[in-house]
């Protein structure tokens, strides 16, 4: 096993990890405030990818416009879902909202199937994005560099928003104690809407990236990354931004390590390994790696 191979696997892991991290941030913010596992989050990713596909193929818009419009549509979809399916359930038990999100996820998947058919469709990003650059032993495509840079930029940007701005403070207050926050005059609906906006925007972007990575889209494409991103969020400590990113990278690297570095007889078990890892981490640290003390074990 050469050092180049290990490095290329590491880069693959980081690339996968940054997509997971982006989706995981959305899960984490929403969970922090609403205590809701939003299973439909993965399907927002699909919505983003399909919107981009439609805009590129049918209308032939330039890439920057496509990305902006897809993000706007993803955000609109996220807000709509929140308004219709989650807001009426604000005071329900955790499990009720969980099932509601499952239903929304099924709804979106079937809607996309109905509109675009179940078949995989080709998704081609412009050539300059997939071009490969070589730096010594490290090989990177333009796409990879953009994905890394975006993830790191977004993490810093979001941390600043969370730490410094009024809305960020309101969001942190809500995830600490929603009732107290409401009593202090924070408008919970606005906070939740902003959380969904941020999450959906990131998911839409991640959808385009993932579609560009795999070069195809299909109606169920968001489900597995969505679930893994959730695992990443739990792994890192759900409710914390840094935790989501850390969890995303750990998961991405672990998955690539299971796939590439272990003997081939174990490789097919990589999805199982991800969950075994999750269960082990939760047994040792019930609130995730960077999680707060509250919650977790009973």
């Amino acid at each position: 096993m050469s050092i180049e191979y290990i490095i290329s696997q590491l880069i693959n892991g980081l690339r996968l990890g940054s997509v997971y991290a982006m989706v995981a941030i959305g899960y984490s913010i929403v969970y922090g405030i609403l205590r809701l596992i939003n299973f439909a989050h993965g399907d927002i990713l699909t919505v983003g990818a399909y919107t981009a596909l439609t805009l590129m193929v049918a209308f032939g818009y330039p890439l920057w416009l496509v990305i902006i419009l897809s993000i706007i549509i993803s955000v609109a979809m996220g807000l709509l879902i929140e308004r219709v399916a989650y807001r009426p359930l604000r005071n329900a038990r955790e499990e009720t909202t969980l099932v509601s999100s499952l239903a929304v996820s099924a709804f979106l998947q079937n809607l996309i199937t109905m509109v675009f058919s179940e078949q995989r469709k080709a998704f081609q990003l412009p050539d300059w994005l997939t071009e490969i650059h070589t730096y010594g032993i490290v090989k990177l495509s333009t796409m990879n560099i953009i994905i890394f840079a975006t993830t790191i930029f977004l993490l810093i940007f979001l941390s600043i928003i969370m730490k410094k701005t009024r809305i960020g403070m309101a969001m942190r207050a809500c995830s600490d104690n929603q009732r107290a926050a409401a009593l202090m005059g924070i408008n919970i609906n606005v906070v939740v809407a902003v959380a969904f906006m941020i999450g959906s925007a990131l998911a839409g972007l991640a959808g385009i990236m993932l579609a560009g990575e795999y070069k195809t889209v299909d109606p169920a494409m968001g489900f597995a990354p969505g679930l893994k991103a959730f695992v990443a969020a739990v792994l890192g400590g759900i409710g914390s931004l840094g935790g989501a990113v850390l969890g995303g990278f750990i998961l991405g690297i672990a998955e690539m390590a299971f796939a590439g570095l272990l003997p081939t007889s174990i490789t097919p078990y990589r999805d199982a390994m991800v969950f075994v890892l999750l269960i082990l981490v939760l047994l040792v640290k019930p609130n995730g790696i960077l999680g707060s003390d509250e919650g977790g074990r009973s």
């Binding site: 969970y31 205590r35 596992i37 219709v84 399916a85 009426p88 359930l89 329900a92 955790e94 499990e95 009720t96 969980l98 099932v99 509601s100 499952l102 239903a103 929304v104 099924a106 709804f107 998947q109 079937n110 809607l111 199937t113 109905m114 058919s117 179940e118 489900f223 679930l227 959730f230 695992v231 739990v234 097919p268 078990y269 999805d271 199982a272 991800v274 969950f275 075994v276 999750l278 269960i279 939760l282 047994l283 019930p286 919650g295 977790g296 074990r297 009973s298």
Partner: protein, 372 residues
């Protein structure tokens, strides 16, 4: 007296007529509606056992498909013809290849295997609460699936096992369903069941009263897995083909969905939910293939029936969170109450029923009079 409290009414609507339909189905094996009724029966087992965990003990498991898969595969090892086992499953030990058991025994062994796995998993996982448990059980599905897909020598890999003998006929399914329902019904009304409900309603208080929460959770999880294994075995023998992809997220989600639609807090909810989820999508499916309504040709819309069901689920959760049945255990109570059966043969009770119906009618007429 309300209509639904009348024993004759309860007998006919919850025991008599369903029983007749099941008996008719028994004599029409292989028909389309018989298949639906069989599916309905298996769903009752699966959903009722899920309600035991999700509704009565306050955990939220989504891993039912994993236990179904274990039940299905293990029971299949005991019912498959020997030559199939020799050619497709070379990894099995020799005694297992040669053995052939009657279906119910095989099913029992499958259930026990599922229960043992649940015991082991439960010790690790059930210390987590709420969402963490849900995710861990989802993980269990993934783990079981990858074992099934990759242990080629004992599971035939992702191709699955075909040619399971069709032991799951209507009477077997409903026999098992009634037995499962009876056991669950008695469990819930026993002291054990009361303690479970105490844990659900207030874990801290229950612990203060001296209930060993973890032990009870593990036990109930194992019990639920036992019945899920039975359901999985029946499912496998009904479809006559088993493979990892049948026992994946979709399956688990569908069971969770059914249990929520019917009502998670009762066993009756599992019956109503299963009825709803088996038959309504079937009636919606013509819509997908482009139905003609009043001379207007609707376009083909693949996925429409699932879409409608999902939308319905969201609406139901928002407006009737406790499910269709809510908190009434009338159906299951009627099935297992001796009074109901006695009433079926006593003319006095029929007279009462007539009285109730007559009074309903007169009230209806009066209402109309008032309006006009």
């Amino acid at each position: 007296m309300r209509l639904r409290d009348n024993n004759v009414f309860r007998f006919w609507s919850f025991v008599g007529i369903p029983l007749m339909i099941i008996i008719i189905a028994c004599f029409h094996q292989g028909g389309y509606y018989t298949h639906l009724i069989n599916t309905f029966g298996i769903y009752i087992i699966l959903v009722a056992s899920l309600n035991l965990v999700n509704g009565f003990s306050g955990m939220f498991s989504m891993g039912h498909a994993a236990f179904m898969a274990i039940g299905a595969y293990v029971s299949a090892y005991f019912t498959l013809p020997t030559d199939i086992k020799y050619s497709f499953l070379p990894g099995l030990p020799h005694w297992l290849k040669d053995i052939q058991l009657p279906f119910l025994a095989a099913m029992l062994l499958g259930s026990i295997a599922a229960m043992l796995v649940a015991l082991v998993v439960g010790f690790c996982v059930l210390r987590m609460k709420g969402h963490y448990l849900s995710v861990a059980t989802l993980g269990l599905i993934v783990i079981v699936r990858s074992v099934l897909d990759n242990q080629d020598s004992i599971t035939n890999g992702a191709r699955g096992i075909t040619g399971l003998p069709d032991h799951a006929v209507t009477w077997t399914i409903f026999f098992v369903a009634v037995v499962v329902m009876y056991i669950l019904h008695r469990t819930i009304r026993s002291g054990f069941g009361r303690e479970l409900i105490a844990i659900r309603d207030d874990t801290v208080a229950a612990r203060t009263m001296g209930i060993n929460v973890t032990k009870y959770r593990v036990l109930i999880f194992a019990m639920s897995a036992f019945f899920a294994g039975a359901g999985g075995a029946l499912w496998g023998h009904l479809q006559s083909v088993i493979s990892g992809k049948f026992y994946y997220y979709d399956m688990s989600f569908k069971i969770v969905q059914t249990s929520i639609i019917g009502g998670v807090y009762t066993l009756s909810g599992s019956i109503v939910g299963s009825l709803f989820m088996t038959f309504v999508p079937e009636f919606l499916s013509p819509l997908e293939s482009g139905l003609q309504i009043f001379g207007v040709q609707l376009p083909e819309m693949y996925g429409l029936s699932n879409l409608i069901m999902a939308a319905f689920l969201v609406v139901l959760i928002i407006f009737r969170r406790q499910g269709l049945v809510g908190y009434s255990e009338n159906i299951v109570n009627s099935i297992f109450s001796p009074d109901v059966y006695k009433a079926a043969v006593s003319p006095k009770e029929y007279k009462k029923l007539l009285g109730i119906i007559a009074s309903k009618f007169t009230r209806l007429l009066h209402k109309k009079d008032n309006k006009s």
